[in-house]
């Protein structure tokens, strides 16, 4: 068994390296500022690193240095449309008028931008990412300081690489979690290949954003949650979960989904302890809750209080307000939910870069079939489990699946709630939502997806191998295909 596990270990390490290598390819191919919201994420880091304080929405603005680059470099059409860039040039026009001398001149201009441009602000360009909690930006600010003497292009690309380092570490931790949850080694490798080679996933971490650190903290949080549920009651697990919850909430609001599942985790753990008296140990339950609260609240609370003082709401989200029950019902009635979930689905499987490049429509149909097949597999497994009485809520592995499903559902509710706020605040139709918020818990969704698919795979060495090789090959080819169409779009102006 040890030899078998060694092979697994080697494969998992190679997959992590492959993920990192793919990330580097994405970093090279994606032009500067092409990552979702990349200028605003960079502006946050720069603001903190240069001024030593956290930006405030509406009062802090992007630097002249960023603004200058936006006017020299080709920028994506959607950024171009924002209207805040002086004389923007899109990829198409840039290559149309390709002129080596002009590029050298632009390169020189960027390299020789005075230091003052890093601290002077452009009042038309808000740092709208200032709504984000600061932990990532503080950490990335350290990397920025190390590279302070370099030009902005070097700083941007180095920060992208930093994102990939964080995400690769998180991927390795995720695999350790999969090993704890899934007993079939072929399914583990298939899940790992799905995570490492999912092009949306790689793209999401090959840009500057707090997603890399969120993924890392979420991975650690899930890893320790799983260990907490699988092992005997250990105070160190509870403490670590509390710390990770605090750090997560100080990194991204999507971590509120993790906060939402904490009570469930504690209750499920307490259910494991039910003995013959059929009672949950209330003291243990209370103790765990208290420890997690005591550890996590001091880490994140200051930020949310700071939000309330500076923006008037705890989330710090721009242009939002607390929803009344009436607002909520109005919003729920106003949204075309079928369209909303369709967008959510499409964006999850493939919406690339700020140019919003999509794959051929057939791909989404295929993914819809895969998702439906997996859901059927999960459904049949669950029903069988119930009939055979194997599906016991006190069983740790069943509990882990419940936690995973709850995380996904809470994230969907959270994202939808934020979108409802935007809908009501801006009085516009809700048609678009970013699905990259779900990638930090991809381990949860991919475990469920592959568990469902696994139901239909015969249990034999040959079918296991074919299952793994098919996942690996198809995902690798999908990645290559996406890189090809993005390269064509960015550097030749070819659209699909």
């Amino acid at each position: 068994m040890h030899v078998l596990k060694q092979k697994d270990e080697r494969l998992s390490i190679l997959f992590c390296f492959l993920f990192f290598a793919l990330g580097l390819m994405w970093i090279v191919i994606q032009p500067i500022w092409e990552g979702f919201d990349e200028p605003a994420h960079f502006a946050y880091i720069q603001y903190f690193a240069e001024k030593g304080k956290i930006p405030i929405y509406g009062q802090s603005f992007q630097s002249t240095e960023i603004s200058e680059t936006l006017s020299i470099l080709p920028v994506n059409v959607n950024l171009w449309r924002s209207g805040s860039i002086v004389n923007p040039i899109n990829y198409f026009d840039f290559w149309k008028n390709f002129d080596k001398d002009k590029i050298d001149e632009g390169d020189n201009r960027i390299k020789n931008l005075p230091l003052e441009t890093r601290t002077s602000e452009v009042s038309s360009m808000a740092i709208y990412e200032s709504q984000q909690p600061p932990f990532y930006y503080i950490v990335a600010g350290g990397i920025y300081q190390l590279l302070h003497d370099n030009d902005i292009i070097t700083r941007v690309y180095a920060l992208r690489i930093f994102s990939m380092v964080l995400a690769t570490t998180a991927l390795f931790i995720s695999y350790r979690t999969i090993v704890l949850v899934i007993s079939n080694s072929a399914t583990r490798i298939a899940i790992l290949s799905f995570m490492a080679l999912n092009p949306m996933f790689v793209m999401n971490f090959s840009r500057i954003s707090n997603e890399g650190l969120t993924f890392l903290i979420f991975s650690l949080f899930i890893f320790f949650t799983v260990r907490f549920l699988l092992s005997n009651q250990k105070i160190k697990h509870v403490l670590i979960i509390g710390i990770l919850l605090g750090l997560g909430l100080l990194t991204k609001q999507s971590f509120l989904a993790a906060a939402g599942v904490i009570p469930l985790i504690i209750i499920l753990k307490s259910m494991q302890d039910i003995k013959s008296e059929n009672k949950i140990k209330l003291i243990q339950l209370f103790k765990n809750t208290l420890i997690i609260s005591i550890v996590s609240v001091p880490i994140f609370l200051w930020w949310y209080l700071n939000n309330f003082i500076t923006t008037g709401n705890f989330s710090g989200l721009q242009g939002t307000y607390s929803l009344t029950i009436n607002d909520l019902f109005y919003g729920i009635r106003s949204v075309e939910w079928s369209n909303y979930f369709k967008e959510l689905f499409l964006n999850f499987w493939g919406l690339f870069g700020w140019s919003f490049i999509r794959l051929p429509v057939e791909f989404y149909y295929l993914m819809a079939v895969v998702t439906i097949v997996s859901t059927i597999g999960l459904g049949i497994s669950s029903i069988k489990g119930l009939i055979l009485k194997k599906l016991n809520l006190r069983e740790p592995k069943v509990q882990i699946f419940i936690v995973f499903a709850s995380l996904i559902i809470l994230l969907i509710i959270g994202v939808s709630y934020v979108n409802l706020q935007y809908l009501l605040a801006w009085k516009r139709q809700l048609v678009f939502t970013g699905s990259w918020y779900f990638f930090s818990v991809l381990i949860a969704s991919s475990t469920l997806l592959f568990y469902g698919l696994r139901y239909f795979i015969p249990k034999s060495q040959t079918s296991d191998r074919i299952f793994v090789l098919t996942c690996f090959s198809l995902l690798l080819l999908l990645n290559m295909y996406v890189l090809k169409i993005l390269s064509e779009y960015y550097y030749f102006g070819i659209t699909q």
């Binding site: 290598a21 149309k96 070097t154 072929a186």
Partner: protein
Amino acid sequence: MNKYFIISGVGIFVMIGIIFYNYEIPNQDYPFDIEHNAALPELYGNSTYGQIFKAERNNLNRIDVLVGTFARTNDRELIFHLMDASMLHKDLRTVKIESSSIIDNKFLTIRFQEISDSSNKEYYFFIESPTSEAGNAITLWYYANDGYYNGQMIINNKNLLDCKTDIIRKQHQNYTQFLVKHGGISNECYLIHHFKTFEDWSKFDNISVELNSSSEVSSDMIIFTQTGYYGYKIKNNSNLLKVELTNPDTISDSPNLMEVTAFRVDPYEGTNIGTYEIGKISLINATHSITLDSDDFWTLITTNNEIKGNLAFRPYYKSDIETYYDIFLERVLVFKPWFFNETFILILLIIFIALVIGILKIESKTTYY
């Protein structure tokens, strides 16, 4: 060696080869005007939407057009025609497309057998859908103000067939256009048989231009030069048109470049002027004679429609791998940090391939449990 390792390894790398084998380079000088695009009306019946463009490279093999479906599924057939802009009587390529597969507001890719010698030539393509009807038809997007000067959109080319009478000369930045003003409703249209030759014209006292048509010529012919209208108008009812130009040394400021345009005005209403062909033109004087074959001609046709602009379109050219990746490498490294260079990309590719092979190798030795 494990059969799964060999099959999957070969399969993966063959498929990657296929994915990257498609080396198509688009026209860089294409219309793109993000803020001024709009949709044309529904395309059905006798309507045609088309575009003249100048090919930048050889091996023209694809044209993309931005299509609108009016957010519905339409099920009628579209017909794409590609023509040499100087030989409008026959299709070089014809492609039939099912409109049911078209996605709203996306570029529709139309591929055809490549044209090997397309570089620097003018082409005209148009799309029609005679079987479509209102409520079951697609449309095309166009740009009203895109700065594309190497061609223009043509709506309802059937009107071109009615062109006649007045002639207008238009000087553009890079070329000259000659217009035949249509006396009708809203169209101006143009038909020019135009050739350039690089001769030292100043040494000639007289130039005789003979236009030898493969079919009987029965029309008025007017000869222009790049500097002006010479007013030669000849009525001829034979296969040979002969035009005398005097004092050619006054024709051009550039003695080595002489541009002569032979312009035919069709006197007969409804005559299909697009079928007119010139076999050859001879430029003759006492001491010198050159012959130009029909490849030296090109035709400009345009209409002055109420809707002006260019279709949202883009031509593509099949490229060889070397040219494609030379261009790609040159561009991908622009505005990148110093540590991203060709060596870095090469090393990254080698590591990537080694990792893929490594994974397949270890996987082949793994026993699942």
